[in-house]
Amino acid sequence: MRTLYIITRILTFPGAYLRGFWEQLTCRILGLPVEIPGYLRIDEACSHVEHALAKKGFASYLMATGAGFMNFMTGLPIFLAGFMNLRYMGITPYDNLGYFIFYVIITYIGFSMLCNIFPLVEDTMNLFDVAYKQKKMNIIGRILFAIPSALAFVGSFLEKYCITFIALAAAVILSFVI
């Protein structure tokens, strides 16, 4: 599974790299020390930075969801701009090769970003420990962030087992076939 995880991160390296960047940026904003900064390492933390665990409620929430949120918000329009042109507007190499290649590239970049939107399991565990067990987040925050936290929690496992990559890739391929 570790090998598959690393392979999928390498296959989606633009998104993996950017996620690493957003994570390090979040650490810097929150004042969290970053142990190992490499974004594309060949281990299970590939596409993440190794950092100290956040000890406050909101910081732990941001660490778990911030980087993924940025990748999602920037990746979705990029993916859709390419995908809609290829899938719906029917652009082919016979129309304009330059634009076709451009759309293929941005679809791939957007796809790679969407495959890297969930945190490491350790970060979501820390979020639940700090915010919900130790209750270092106020009640309003706990209620407001309950759904995104739950999504991040489930998503972190899906990403760990490469299910997000497989599901997204299958959806994109099927949308062209059906």
């Binding site: 633009p14 790299y17 950017l18 690493g20 960047f21 957003w22 390090q24 940026l25 810097r28 004042g31 020390p33 970053v34 142990e35 900064p37 974004y39 100290a52 940025m70 918000m73 920037t74 990746g75 979705l76 329009p77 990029i78 859709l80 701009a81 809609m84 042109n85 719906y88 507007m89 029917g90 652009i91 082919t92 016979y94 129309d95 304009n96 634009y99 941005i106 957007g110 970003m113 059906i178």
Partner: protein
Amino acid sequence: MSEETDKSISAEETEEEISEDDICPYCGENKKQEESDYCAECEAAMLARKIPFLAWIGGLVAVVFSVFALAIVFLLTAPSIQVAKGDSYAREKRWYSAYTAYSDVPAVVDEITTILGGESPFVQTGTNIAVKKFDALAHYTSPLEAFYYESQSVSHLEGKFNTTMKGYYEIYNDYMSSYDIVLETLETKFGMTEPSAEEMHAAVEDLRGTEGVSDIWIDYYHLTFAYNFNESDEAALKYLKAIDESAKKSKLDYSWLYYTELSDLLYKMNDYEGSTEYLDKLIKNDRTNFGAYELKMRITLKIKGLEEAKKLLDEFIEYNEGIDTAYVLRIMYLRAAKEYDKALELCVEAQEEFATAPELYRQEALIHLLKGEYGKAYEAVFTAYSNASYIAQYYQDDSSLTNQLYNTLYLCSYLESEKGSMNTDNASEISNIINDLKDYVNAESVLDVISGKKTVEQVLTEGEYDLV
């Protein structure tokens, strides 16, 4: 002394145990800071770690480009929804609806172009939409007709990698090559003479096995000659069965070529079961095939009654709501159920929505005929004829100028002149129509009414349920 030594050793051990927990895990040397996982030096170094320049650039580009991409997505939403609508219809095999949806995509793109004040290279319709449109039309009509109307938009794909168009080009090239060879052979053989049916059949049959001429087209030419030389229905059926055999051997789908002919002929030969079998296949291939539903409706009314016909009508409406043909079949059903007023109301409602659809006016004429209002019937059918002629002239589409329309026009004109209160305004017009069409009227039901063998009601609410 030894006691003192022991004490100092145990004190050192305790100190070591404490210090191991407190040692910075990163450097493994210094003591951790209070409320921190690292020593002061390591933490300062970690906090001072620079984010790579490439990462800053990547992040910035991603944010800026995503804003640009978002604008593209907004612009593409409306045409994409239109294409998705077409795709959804195509998946349900509602080919007419799919064709209409795909045809509307350029108009949606034009609207966006108008809003933008100029063409955008990021909002363009591509070849695949043209292919989808072609595919929908080929299913709704036939591949050959699709080539007639849409060949320009897909011509650059001939010989290129495109799985959809590959099959269509095979059919088209096969047809063209067969046509050229058959035509050349017939011209060489017969020139300006008028050959007999047997000679034509023999000449075409001689070409069987020739390179460039497919068996299916040989069989099809036999069928064409059978129709042209007014051969018997049995002879036509024999050729249609031969086409069926050839089609089964082909890896390409040729059902569009003969299923309609076969079902019509079987119906004509009173083989309703056989006809229904092919009509069901046609309906399965295209849920918007009005012709197939219309004939099946007549068969159902004839042998199963109104209840089953209602089920068929509901099935058709489910797939064709909002299309003029849904109104036509509903009106036809109401006419068969003898609910003339309801049917007339529906005609008016439908004509408001589809002001130029000839069949709606023809249906109105049939209801007026049943009510004995021959003048109104004539006016309605004349509007149908005018609309059909206009469509044929300006859109090069003569599919509305059907045999049924001519027969209805003739019968309405005839009954108005014989039994109606023909006014002086249209008297000459009506007599002209009667004179022009009298040699072309071939519907048995019309001839029966004119000869007095049957009443209008018998023809339109029993038997054939139309002027066929």
